[in-house]
């Protein structure tokens, strides 16, 4: 099998997602695909999977031009993608999921015995005899659901298999099992495209790596011809040290102290503190309880017990409104659905606070004063927009994030929780967001940054706490912070 995608272009409503991206991969190799968020990795893979039609460029399979017109067509040509969000029907059995295409074939009777037998063979083949083909797929642990997805791809006899950040939802042990499976597939001559943000994985698993940036291919290297540092440089297009602006904050006394916080199974006995002027990184695997912890502190989810102190005084955040009144603001992880009101003007977004000082006693808005205040905040954040009356949805991802921050500045919050602040924004916008966080810290705010981006945790944090399975696995001081140290704590691999 020889796949080559040449000079692929793809634009969405005038915004170019891919401009001349190319990749070449062979059967029997694991090919890493790396790049920043928004570099075009997923778009390129969706073009390959037939989910998007390319605007121009060529795809060749085994030297022959191949026009992939639909997901169905891609499957027929032997291409399967294991997406981050699985496409399993949770209420159907494993066997039905694996052989789901056959359910669409003509005929009335479902050949249960045959389906179960074939599924069992496929699973055994992969070393997962313990999965029962008749169990509803939704009841399986996440790692096993992924196995079912892979099994589904194998039942189609796929020759090209794309993995989109498969280990983001897996534990260390499960990841090891997945790597063994991937290596086995490689031995069978399958061409494996492997998207990941984790440098270590790329270096242990892949034979070759291709880097994308801004929709273009930066280059392609055999894995032993490149080191981690230059790989990062190719991904971000500059030296790592240039990505994180300098911060001149004076770290003061503890501003927020969380003591023995419990809120459901994902928030158990959480204790930590943040000082004024400090940026505290919160790391851990997806599903380690980081977001749940922040939501509990912010009053968005009920707290069972535990204490929260602000500047030494005990506070209760029974609702987000109370948290804001106490001076705590949170930027949720899902910017588009939770952080910003996309259809409403910037001005309304900026003043979406429980206590708007520009409301008269009768409940009417004092327009002149409000506009002046919002414009001043926008200037302070260097917000790029054609005015404050345009809707937030028309802005770029980075500027939308700034709009989400505006309301906490308006509410004069002293503790700011950023949950995955730079997800889905380009490098330039990232630097802008880091700068805003720095300025908040310099102004004496305590900043908590939850992030899955290892580079940004290392580059931005004064201190890091790592969560694992709803608990704090450990804390790293500035000089202790490294990718290895964080991953060891996050995965629970004992030294």
């Amino acid at each position: 099998m020889h796949l080559s995608m040449l000079q692929i272009d793809k634009a969405f409503g005038g915004v170019a997602a891919l401009q001349g991206a190319s990749i070449e991969a062979f059967g029997g190799e694991v090919h890493g695909l790396m790049g920043e968020n928004g570099a075009g990795k997923s778009t390129l893979m969706k073009v390959l999977a037939g989910a998007y039609r390319r605007d121009s460029g060529e795809i060749h399979l085994d030297g022959k031009p191949a026009d992939i017109t639909s997901p169905h067509d891609a499957i027929a040509k032997g291409i399967s993608v294991i997406y981050q969000e699985f496409s399993l029907a949770g209420h159907l059995s494993v066997a039905e999921n694996v052989l789901i295409e056959e359910l669409g074939k003509p005929g009335v009777r479902v050949q249960w015995a045959d389906m179960v037998r074939r599924t069992r063979t496929l699973l055994a083949d992969m070393g997962f005899e313990d999965i029962d083909p008749m169990q509803p797929a939704g009841e399986l642990p996440v790692a096993y659901q992924q196995v079912v997805e892979i099994c589904k791809a194998l039942s189609r006899e796929s020759t090209i298999l794309v993995f989109d950040e498969p280990t983001a939802v897996l534990t260390h042990h499960e990841s090891e099992k997945l790597f063994r499976l991937i290596r086995m597939l490689r031995e069978r001559g399958v061409c494996i495209l492997y998207i990941s943000h984790r440098l270590e994985e790329i270096f242990t698993l892949c034979d070759r790596v291709t880097v994308l940036k801004d929709g273009q291919t930066v280059g392609s290297w055999p894995i032993d011809a490149i080191d981690q540092k230059s790989l990062v440089r190719h991904m971000i297009g500059r030296e790592l040290s240039d990505l994180f602006p300098r911060r001149d904050a004076v770290i003061g006394d503890a501003l927020l102290e969380v003591d023995g916080l419990n809120a459901g199974p994902m928030v158990r006995d959480i204790s930590f503190s943040v000082r004024a002027g400090e940026v505290l990184g919160v790391s851990g695997l997806v599903g380690a309880g980081r977001t749940e912890t922040m939501r509990a502190i912010f009053g968005a989810d009920p707290v069972q017990f535990g204490r929260i102190r602000l500047a030494g005084r005990e506070i209760v955040n029974g609702s987000p409104g109370q948290a804001v009144a106490n001076g705590i603001g949170m930027l949720p992880e899902d910017r588009k659905h939770q952080g910003v009101l996309l259809d409403l003007p910037i001005r309304v977004n900026a003043m979406m606070t429980p206590a708007n000082p520009f409301i008269s006693a009768l409940g009417f808005i004092r327009n002149r004063e409000e506009i002046a205040a919002v414009e001043e905040i926008a200037r302070g954040l260097r917000l790029k927009s054609a005015g404050i009356d345009i809707s937030a949805g028309t802005l770029s991802g980075g500027n939308q994030q700034k709009v989400a921050i505006m309301k906490w500045i308006a509410a004069k919050c002293r503790v700011l929780i950023f949950d995955e602040p730079t997800r889905g924004v380009d490098v330039g916008a990232k630097i802008e967001i880091y700068r805003v966080m720095n300025e908040l810290a310099e102004a004496g705010a305590a900043v908590i940054m939850v992030s899955s981006d290892m580079l940004e945790v290392i580059g931005m944090s004064d201190r890091v706490i790592v969560m694992r399975q709803g608990q704090i696995a450990g804390e790293l001081q500035k000089h202790q912070i490294s990718e290895e140290a964080i991953i060891d704590l996050a995965m629970g691999t004992e030294a």
Binding site: P320, Q338, D343, A411
Partner: protein
């Protein structure tokens, strides 16, 4: 981004106003009587209950809800005022005002029940208001055992009520109910554009999760819109009674559907967050005009319903087209 010519943009942005203008022109051409002050004032007077109910419906729709009980609450308003008239104080104006306030309060109270079900108990608005619709209609029928309640002959309040329903503002010929509707339109246009309440109600419908995470007590606004819709519906019932001088439990039957249609023709999104009072009023006028012109042309009642349905579909299709055009 594709550049459209000025004319196309204009047509798309103001399509609903153009549709109204088109209907006016067509009606004028089709019928000699259409463009007479008497017909026009009469038409507007008939539309006042729908206009009031539609404002309430729009507020609810803006928060992402729906209120099916508005027609039944109009019946509550009609019954309360009609049954109170004989007992109101002697002073006509004070007496009538007391009665109207009582009717509005009854509507608002029942609306508040729906509001609590939706905001506190997180019940689906469709279900909560469907239940309120049958309950309120049942109460309206029970109030007089299903009998129509005629206005009393000899009280000042009843006479004033009849006058309110049938006479006009001296000098300009505008019927009093139309003036009342106009006041409420101006009030709610201002409220939605310039007040904290309006801003947060729209924001809630636009993205409830984001508003809640901004620390705003979302439930308060989701509750308030049903109270307001209930009060306005009862007032609509009062106005409807004034015109006929008799209160019946059938008042406002099916009014909720016309109100939803008016909002949607006016470009409101049923998922919330988008809609305007002015455009909704245009929607009311379009619905009214369709009925009026068909009556003037003596189109029989059954085909009228079909034509009305088809026109609603086209109006909404047009809104979708313009919505798409604005987004790209």
């Amino acid at each position: 981004m594709q550049k459209k010519t000025g004319v196309a943009t204009f047509l798309i942005r103001y399509n609903i106003f153009l549709m109204l203008a088109l209907l006016v022109v067509a009606s004028t051409l089709l019928s000699d009587v259409f463009l007479t002050p008497q017909n026009l004032w009469n038409l507007l007077r008939q539309l006042v209950p729908l206009a009031l109910v539609s404002i309430g419906m729009l507020l609810v729709i803006l928060t992402g809800g729906i209120d099916l009980s508005v027609g039944a609450l109009a019946a509550i308003g009609a019954m309360v005022i009609a049954m109170l008239l004989p007992y109101l104080p002697d002073q006509a104006a004070v007496g009538l005002l007391t009665g109207i306030v009582a009717a509005i309060a009854a509507g608002a109270l029942l609306g508040a029940v729906t509001g609590v079900l939706v905001s506190v108990f997180r019940m689906a608005p469709f279900i909560a208001s469907l239940a309120m619709m049958t309950v309120a209609r049942g109460i309206a029928f029970m109030m007089s055992n299903g009998q129509p309640v005629r206005f009393p002959r000899d009280t000042g309040a009843a006479d004033l009520m009849r006058a309110f329903g049938s006479s006009a503002v001296p000098g300009i010929g505008m019927p009093w109910p139309v003036l009342v509707a106009l006041v409420f339109v101006v009030l709610f246009v201002t409220l939605m554009a310039q007040s904290k309440f309006g801003r947060l109600a729209i924001a809630t419908g636009s993205n409830e999760v984001a508003v809640r995470l901004a620390g705003i007590p979302v439930a308060r606004y989701k509750f308030l819109v049903y109270v307001i819709a209930g009060g306005l519906s009862a007032l609509a019932g009062v106005v409807a009674t004034a015109r006929t001088a008799v209160g019946t439990a059938n008042t406002g039957f099916g009014l909720e559907l016309d109100a939803i249609a008016a909002c949607v023709i006016g470009g409101a999104l049923l998922s919330g967050g988008k809609g305007s009072v002015v455009n909704t009023m245009i929607g009311v006028l379009i619905l009214g005009l369709i009925g009026n012109i068909m009556n003037l042309l003596s189109v029989p009642a059954y085909p009228q319903q079909i034509i009305k349905g088809v026109i609603i579909v086209f109006a909404v299709l047009l809104q979708n087209v313009s919505g798409e055009a604005k987004r790209t």
